[in-house]
Amino acid sequence: MASETELNAGIEDGVRRRDFINIAAVSFAGVGSVAVVLPLLNQMNPSADVLALSSTEIDISAIQPGQAIKTSWRKQPVFVRNLVAKEIAEAKAVPMGDLRDPETIDQRTKPGKENWLITLGVCTHLGCVPLGAAEGENRGDFGGYFCPCHGSHYDTAARIRKGPAPKNLVVPPYEFTSDTVVTIG
């Protein structure tokens, strides 16, 4: 057994070899534990097959003005609506100050194709599918979409106007591959 004097022998600054070993061992174990936790947390993120963004092609030729269809992209519902002139005019007439998430209809559609409103059908509140895409469904107080779960109303440009949702319905990345075909993703 080493006595206290022996352990402290030759040390003037009060730091013993043992203190160094303690700090080094605990730090090493700490870094090691964190390194093990990272993959354990990361495994919960979307896996490669989920992330592989399949792009969806939609034929929009059959959608008449005033009609909308519901399709899906990355397993999420997508609304494609062929707006009528009145709906576009209504959307343009709204002053930006009245909007919770200010965006013009031009920002939400492609140039020259502003009658095509393509959004995710996922309410930005808690993710229900709003009503209004199918014939005869409740389109809410602003003539766009209405989410029945918690009562969010969207206008003709699918912008949030009333209720608990914080954002406009999301416009996914898409482009017109031809006049009648849209590729989402």
Binding site: M44, N45, V50, S72, L126, P148, H150, G151, P164, P166
Partner: protein, 428 residues
């Protein structure tokens, strides 16, 4: 850890003596739930609900383990595997209905247990830690119940998972990545179902662990009682066994009667018909509501329909909902009155019953669609709920003049006995 007059454990049989030296489990049981644990002599039937909650947990664990032998946690087959349990597995319908209704029974007894704690001030010193651990158990129960409800992969399962994981997307900046991390995708899917099954199997055992801590913390000061006066000497107590093992045994019998009546005669009353429709990620049920035990909190979530200050409505709703439960952690310090039992608190008692009515009102509103008058009622109900804990309770506990109290548990019991005897002789 116990009162000085607690009966000591003295094994006589050589085997028990041998066991006591090697692994003193019989000693532990004797001193925790046996003759070696003195308990106030005046506990009423509200003190049964802790044991009943334990019984409900055991029923859930046993039926759950059996169900897991037949269930398949895969989005393609989960719904059908539950139908397979219902139609093909021997007695499968009974085990699943017992598990479904067992969850409701668990929440009923736990809500009554919390009611008892609130009315009789069981959360006050020296039992704050018992209360805090209880709130932890309650949170774990909610997480477990939610994830269990997702497993059948019906419409309510799917949309419940979508909405509840949506809560996390309200967190500024990191919300959406956190939600995707929880789901393992952009919508609830196979990855979500698998991890929920794994955690749904794990959490009940975590609950069991916290219950052991809850009971450990309880056994340091010992049980509270309807007078709220602490035990003073031996005549205030009776041994747990046989007095309370018998009383709890009777309670368990009544509990089981209600439980089997619900399971056999009305197994789907507390569920939702929509959950017998397979999950469809493109169509939300017209009216989505959580299980009944979440309704008051759901109403608080739905009460926030407008942006306020710099925080949007969605984040307010989520903050308020979590805060309504987190508030319970602060209860022992929000109520500064030294009087525990509401029987001696005339003013608090009034507000206590208003709170009970308010929570029932919120529960009713939680069930209704997001329309008037339910929105305004939820808003008023939510305001009152927070006002009760943050404003009324601190004020009442300072200004209230309590009723005269007996000096001891025994005095209270004998006084009651004397009144009963007088009225009995008066009638005779």
């Amino acid at each position: 850890m116990s009162f000085p007059w607690a009966k000591p454990y003295e094994p006589t049989h050589p085997l028990m003596k041998w066991m006591d030296e090697k692994l003193p489990i019989p000693r532990l049981v004797y001193n925790a739930t046996g003759p070696g644990y003195p308990v106030p002599r005046n506990l009423n039937y509200f003190w049964n609900f802790g044991v009943l909650a334990g019984a409900a947990l055991m029923i859930q664990i046993i039926t759950g383990i059996v169900l897991a032998m037949h269930y398949a946690a895969n989005a393609d087959v989960a719904f059908n595997s539950v139908e397979h349990i219902m139609r093909d597995v021997n007695a499968g319908w009974f085990i699943r209905y017992a598990h479904m209704n067992g969850a409701s029974m668990f929440f009923i007894v736990v809500y009554l247990h919390i009611f008892r704690g609130l009315y009789y001030g069981s959360y006050k010193a020296p039992r704050e830690m018992v209360w805090l651990l209880g709130v932890v158990i309650f949170l774990l129960m909610m997480a477990t119940a939610f994830m269990g409800y997702v497993l059948p992969w019906g419409q309510m399962s799917f949309w419940g998972a979508q909405v509840i994981t949506g809560f996390f997307s309200a967190i500024p900046l990191v919300g959406e990545p956190v939600r995707e991390w929880l789901l393992g995708g952009f919508v609830p899917d196979n990855a979500t179902l698998n991890r929920f099954f794994s955690l749904h199997y794990l959490l009940p055992f975590v609950i069991l662990g916290v219950i052991i801590l809850h009971i450990w913390a309880l056994h340091i000061p010992g049980s509270s009682n309807p007078t709220g006066i602490e035990v003073k000497d031996e005549q205030d107590t009776v041994p747990f066994h046989p007095y309370y093992t018998a009383k709890d045994g009777f309670g368990v019998g009544v509990f089981l009667l209600v439980f089997v009546a619900l399971t056999f005669f009305s197994p789907n009353t507390l569920g939702h018909a929509d959950n017998y429709i397979p999950a469809n990620s493109l169509s939300t049920p017209a009216h989505i509501v959580p299980e009944w035990y979440f309704l008051p909190f759901y109403a608080i979530l739905k009460a926030f329909t407008f942006n306020f200050l710099w925080i949007d409505a969605k984040l307010w709703g989520v903050i308020a909902m979590f805060a309504s439960i987190a508030l319970l952690f602060f209860l022992p310090w929000l109520d500064s009155s030294p009087i525990k039992s509401s029987n001696y608190r005339p003013l608090y008692r009034i507000f206590f019953w208003i709170l009970v009515a308010d929570v029932l009102l919120l529960g009713w509103c939680g069930m209704q669609p997001a329309e008037q008058p339910w929105v305004i009622l939820s808003q008023l109900g939510a305001i009152y709920y927070f006002a009760h804990f943050l404003v009324i309770l601190p004020i009442v506990s300072r200004i209230e003049r309590p009723l005269p109290m007996p000096n001891s548990i025994t005095e209270a019991v004998l006084a009651k006995h004397a009144t009963d005897a007088t009225s009995a002789s008066a009638t005779a």
